[in-house]
Amino acid sequence: MADITRTREEGGFILEPSPTRPGPPAKIPLLHPAHNYETVTRKITSLVFNRTPSGWYIGMAILGLGMMLFTASVGYLFARGVGIWGINIPVAWGFDIINFVWWIGIGHAGTLISAILLLLHQEWRTSINRIAESMTLFAVACAGMYPILHLGRPWLAYWLLPYPSPTNLWPQFRSPLVWDVFAVSTYATVSLLFWYTGLVPDLATMRDRTKNRFLRVVYGMGSLGWRGSARHWNNYQMAYLLLAGLSTPLVVSVHSVVSFDFAVSILPGWHSTIFPPYFVAGAIFAGFAMVLTIVIPLRAFYRLHDLITMRHIDNMAKVTLVTGLVVAYGYLSEIFFAYYSGEYFEKFFITNRITGAYAWSFWALILCNVIAPQFLWSKRVRHNLPAVFLLMMFVNIGMWLERFVIIVGSLHRGHLPSSWAQYAGTFWDWSLFLGTMALFLFLFFLFIRALPAIAIFETRELIHPDQSQTETPA
């Protein structure tokens, strides 16, 4: 409450409350007050420089098995074609597109945290942004594979790119599937650049601290000759801010384009104008749930309580709640407008969604995405780690179900009753899905051991002698 007692001339408050009245409750500091520059650096670099914990080996062993499953699934797919999956006509988009949308959505939290929260001066992003950005990269890697694997002839994937070819082949630019190629590849490129730019000063710190000559060369090359001069920092800050500005539209554009894949068609349940913002909110919802799913165990395993505080968890839970409410609004709005439209097909599709063959998936979705997050209104729940973790698992499953409801639920009952069919994933659908999960975590395990998982220099910025000044009151 230093702010309140400060006098007006020093920048305090217009009117000072008398000491007997309670002021605003003190916030948990974003960094344990006992930390200084040295301890922050030591703690974060120790995640990489300490002896590899045995738990890491056990985890990698299990993930290695998962990677083998992944390789087998892709290999068998290449040998036999997409017939090994459960897709049929009319449900030509099954697990592949569900998982594509699921993974790409998860990536969005990273971009939001790194770009938008930076522009909004939200300092709590600092100790989680690196983890979230890495998660984005790995999730986009998993997502990007699915449409290519779904092509049937994945070796011809480059046909999606517009290039002058002797076959006079040119992509259909009116198709959102082609927009996807550009949206996702731009997203992957900018995310990678942003992630790497953020790493440069930290790689220099790693270079300076490592005792291993080989690693010094590797980190040294990665740090691009960073010397930490004032000019370096000045240019760096400007570059970082510009990249944040460039990334901001990407938070919205990528998932909007993904939503266009559905919305520009005329299939009931797909053709809905709310789709772009509702998909974006869903992506951020899923992304924050995944960040929490990763951060909570990581924080416990490496005892990062002083760097990733309950305030971080609390804030992320709040973002999850807000975006969850937006998603719930989307569900409600589809039901209301299906009724309001007066159109037969709109009413049919929503009735079928709620009571039809896949009604179980809709009600499970409501449980996971609408009912479960409501517990996050309570501060007690938000400060209870097992409860938050459990709720985030609900959201992870719920966001997968959402795409199942949208894709399968709409496709299996189109305008033509003669081509109605049921759909179910086969063994190979599930094995590939599990395989990408293993790939995602495998990359994450490597990242934790090779690079500083928390931004060192940004965390050090939090140790400002006048820290109370930088935190916005009111």
Partner: protein, 409 residues
């Protein structure tokens, strides 16, 4: 305790503004009423009267409702920008009950001139429309409107009252009460605003529907409200007592938010257009087909240029956002363009074969604006222009002159 109330109390000029607004409002309403008795050749008549009435009323009620939304958002998000604008938002939101009362004449006398669905014979004609009579009928419409205004009024009154008590007592409990109400309040707001925008604007075309409508039109109202609040803030800073507290950093904050709202408005508008254009289904596409021919396309183009492209390019400049004299012009443009938006949303429903605008359509917003601003200034004058206890004297990100020099700005 320091006596600071006088320092931030409303300047005397506001009393003059209040009187002037009242005169403008009364003159405007008289002109409108005269117009109601003019023949159609002079672009008057009862039908025209109620249509213009709806347009003017919606525009200014939108400002009040948008302010309520921003008010609750800033209670939830925190931030200096919100605390600085809070008094203006509270005053604008508190006009909601009166704006609700102003709808009563239209509800009792004017609905058949405005909404095609009030005619049961018309609704029976089409198979799709006959499906919608359970929702689109006069009694249910009136019940819904009453419910919305009761909910919004309660929210506005409570937030206003707690803010006054916080001023008086300095008891932080009132601040946390405001935040606690704003969470569920926003949920209610989202639902009621969606239904309200459907009832008042979407149902002008009984056939058309779009799931984006609620968010899109609500955001337009928020954009209009936010732009007007910037205009008032800079007016009271440049000419009034706020210059001691409100600095370039404050304007930078609100300018950024104005830019963000502008971009989101465009994003939502374009998404709705692209999806309906690609789907090309008769019930939806006809809404845009009407608006892209017969002169209406120029209104759409004006919206694109003056509601998005121009403000977007201007607001990218940091210097412009920091200068209240410049920012106020962009904000004023955004605010006025929202009336063009109202014209675009309403008039083509009544004049499907080509551009049409009556002089009454332009008098109505001035008349309602007079009434709104009279109420607004009256409420604003009663309290200090800044909420006590919550606004820091110096912007947290304000830099000293030397710091700014070092950063090369």
């Amino acid at each position: 305790m320091r006596m600071v109330d006088t320092e931030y109390s409303a300047p005397r000029e506001l009393l003059r503004t209040q009187t002037l607004a009242l005169i403008v409002g009364i003159v405007g309403l008289v002109l409108l009423l005269l117009g109601a008795f003019l023949p159609e050749e002079l672009l008057g008549g009862t039908e025209q009267f109620w249509r213009s009435y709806l347009m003017g009323w919606t525009y200014w009620t939108g400002v009040a409702l948008g302010s309520l939304g921003v008010l609750m958002i800033q209670h939830l998000s925190g931030g200096v920008w919100g605390a600085t604008l809070r008094r203006f938002l509270e005053a604008a939101a508190l006009t909601i009950p009166v704006m609700g009362v102003l709808f009563v004449p239209l509800a009792l006398l004017g609905l058949p001139y405005v909404y095609e669905w009030t005619d049961p014979a018309f609704m029976r004609e089409s198979e799709i429309l006959s499906q919608k009579t359970g929702y689109l009928n006069t009694p249910f419409f009136l019940i819904r409107m009453l419910a919305y205004f009761v909910i919004w009024s309660v929210l506005a009154v409570l937030l206003h009252r707690w803010s006054s008590r916080l001023d008086r007592t300095g008891d932080y409990d009132y601040a946390s009460r405001q935040a606690r109400l704003s969470g569920p309040g926003m949920v209610l707001y989202a639902i009621t605003m969606t239904l309200f925008t459907v009832d008042v604007l979407l149902s002008l075309d009984a056939e058309f529907f779009s799931t984006m409508w609620g968010p899109l039109v609500t955001l337009s109202m928020i954009l209009a409200a936010f732009a007007l609040m910037i205009v008032i803030l800079s007016f009271l800073t440049v000419r009034g007592p706020l210059s001691q507290v409100v600095s370039g950093e404050h304007f930078l904050d609100v300018g950024k938010l104005l830019l963000a709202f502008t971009i989101v408005w465009t994003y939502l508008s374009f998404s709705q257009f692209l999806i309906i254009y690609s789907g090309n289904l008769p019930t939806e596409a006809q809404w845009y087909v009407t608006r892209l021919q017969g002169g209406w396309e120029w209104v759409g183009l004006a919206l694109l240029v003056f509601q998005f492209i121009l403000p977007f390019l201007l607001l990218l400049s940091r210097g412009l956002k920091r200068d209240p004299r410049m920012l106020v012009r962009v904000a004023l443009l955004a605010f006025l363009m929202q009336y063009v938006n109202i014209i675009w949303l309403t008039v083509p429903n009544w004049h499907r074969d080509g551009f049409y605008l009556s002089w009454m359509d332009l008098v109505a917003p001035i008349a309602f604006g007079g009434i709104f601003l009279m109420l607004f200034t009256a409420i604003l004058r009663a309290r200090p222009l800044l909420p006590l206890h919550v606004v820091p004297r110096r912007h947290p990100r304000a830099r000293t002159y030397t710091e700014a020099q070092h950063a090369g700005q």
